[in-house]
């Protein structure tokens, strides 16, 4: 039946059915009101808030036995948070897991969107630490809720303007605020602004869960998602001077890796599956372990 590693004594996917029903109802309202944060009764999970409890509860509520789950943390399948959450669902739900983006039906993520394009059959689940985009500007939820009700987002525009006045450009590089379907200001979770364009008109359903803050929200497929900007300071994404040192990619988000005490460093794809796929296809970079024939050296 299920794999031997599946734990007994828990309901399928850990949560009880009453909790799943409550979260499912919240998710349906979240889809119907794109970008609006729906309150839900977040449960205590067997790991602390801040480790993806919101995303885990969303995943547990939608997950079925036939799903194939991929979990990434900062783009990587093999960092602590990703490994633990993947193992959590292997144990409590016995579902198949994968590291290949295209094989997954549900992708739970912390802080990245995969580089490979998503499909209509996939669901993204984001772990969200701070769902309120104006939370750092206005700490009272009763006020931010009123601002959302009135679609009054002047506060955020002033914040971005002050960035320009102080630094000459908009200094937010992650969790960059977006407007969903022309109505709700939304925190895209701490993804780099490099990933913001992927939110726009994505074929995949995107669900967001904040466990500590007890909110879920959603972007349905094919929904307009605009990053806030100004006419004279249009939104732009990060660019790197170097390609990925392992696969030579010039179109992916790169992490800086310090190599030694002498200032040595390299830039590699943050999306480990994307990088591996490219390496398997024969792409190489300046630090590739195999001394491949450098026919198309960059």
């Amino acid at each position: 039946m299920s794999s031997q590693r599946t734990q007994t004594g828990y309901n399928f996917a850990y949560l009880d059915e009453q909790t799943k029903r409550m979260i499912r109802r919240a998710l349906l309202k979240a889809v119907a009101i794109p970008g609006y944060q729906v309150p839900f009764g977040s449960r205590e999970m067997p790991l602390p808030y801040g480790w993806g409890t919101g995303g885990i509860q969303v995943t547990a509520s939608i997950l079925g036995r036939d799903d194939v789950l991929k979990v990434i943390d900062q783009g990587s399948d093999d960092t602590t948070n990703a490994v633990n959450i993947r193992r959590f669902f292997e144990r409590t739900a016995g579902v198949a897991t994968t590291e290949r983006t295209e094989d997954a039906t549900i992708i739970q993520t912390r802080h990245r969107i995969p580089e490979k394009p998503l499909s209509e059959d996939q669901i993204m689940v984001y772990q969200v630490p701070l769902p309120e985009p104006m939370g750092r500007l206005e700490p009272q939820e009763v006020v931010t809720r009123k601002l959302h009700a009135l679609a009054d987002y002047g506060l955020m525009h002033v914040k971005l303007y002050e960035d320009i006045a102080r630094y000459g450009h908009i200094a937010s590089t992650y969790d960059y605020p977006v407007l969903v379907n022309g109505r709700y200001l939304m925190a895209p979770s701490p993804i780099p602004k490099f990933d913001n364009p992927k939110l726009h008109m994505s074929p995949a359903l995107q669900l967001f869960g904040a466990g500590r803050e007890k909110r879920v929200y959603a972007i349905p497929p094919y929904t307009r998602v605009e990053s806030l900007d100004f006419e004279d300071h249009p939104f732009s994404v990060q660019r790197w001077d170097d390609p990925c040192a392992l696969c030579g990619a010039t179109d992916s988000f790169l992490d800086e890796v310090v190599l030694d005490d002498a200032g040595g460093r390299m830039f590699v794809c943050s999306d480990s599956d994307y990088c591996k796929t490219r390496q398997a296809a024969g792409h190489t970079g300046s630090q590739s372990p195999v001394p491949a024939t450098q026919e198309e050296a960059a």
Partner: protein, 211 residues
């Protein structure tokens, strides 16, 4: 102590609920999630339960999946067999008026209350609005053009058996956005979602573009 009211116990045995409450509800929910994410596309629900009249099988599946003691339900036709079935399987309280309901079931759309009669949510909490299940005669490939979130360009669909002027009231519902009700149209074992964010335009008969 007065003797308890001898309410007539239905002669017919209570119909069962979902065969597997965990997996069946999950399978049904995923289709519902897709139905509201992709408005205007008909989704056939799996794991259908046997349902008392006047529920269509898919309506019964939606109710068993989503409602419980936390969600007041308004029934247009609260027959005794149906309410007994829902009380037993879902323990859902029955709402007295449409405005009190979190979920509502319409089985005679021609006589349905106006959409404005249901809970619309409030500006700070637009999610506190009703989800209305409307049982209809069936679906057609064309007649309406849907646009909005969840639809890449436009989605064509027809919905049979709705009262005249229904789509005008839908436009009023959409004008209240982000407040308003969300609809699930049901015919037999099929569900079609229409969240408040979807714009609906009536396409004149005979001038549909071939696709």
């Amino acid at each position: 102590m007065s003797t308890p009211d001898t309410t007539t116990i239905s002669a017919r045995p209570l119909l069962p609920g979902l065969g597997d409450p965990v997996d069946d509800a999950q399978g049904i929910f995923r289709e519902l999630l897709m139905a509201l994410s992709r408005p205007g596309i008909a989704y056939r629900l799996p794991n259908l339960p046997a349902t008392p009249d006047p529920l269509h099988p898919a309506t019964g599946a939606v109710l068993l999946t989503l409602i419980d003691h936390e969600t007041a339900l308004w029934l247009q036709s609260p027959t005794e067999e149906l309410t007994a079935w829902l009380r037993f399987h879902c323990s859902a309280p029955l709402a007295v008026t449409p405005a009190d309901a979190v979920f509502a079931v319409i089985d005679r759309p021609l006589e349905m209350p106006p959409l404005a009669a249901f809970a619309q949510g409030v500006p700070e909490y637009p999610d506190r609005s009703a989800t209305v299940i409307v049982q209809v005669a069936g679906f057609a490939p064309d007649g309406l053009r849907l646009t909005g979130p969840g639809i890449a360009r436009e989605q064509h669909v027809g919905i049979n058996g709705l009262p005249a002027g229904f789509w005008r009231t839908w436009q009023d519902n959409q004008a209240r956005a982000p407040l308003g009700v969300d609809l699930l149209f049901v015919a037999g074992d099929v569900v079609l979602g229409l969240p408040r964010s979807t714009s609906v335009e009536i396409v004149a008969e005979g001038v549909q573009s071939c696709m």
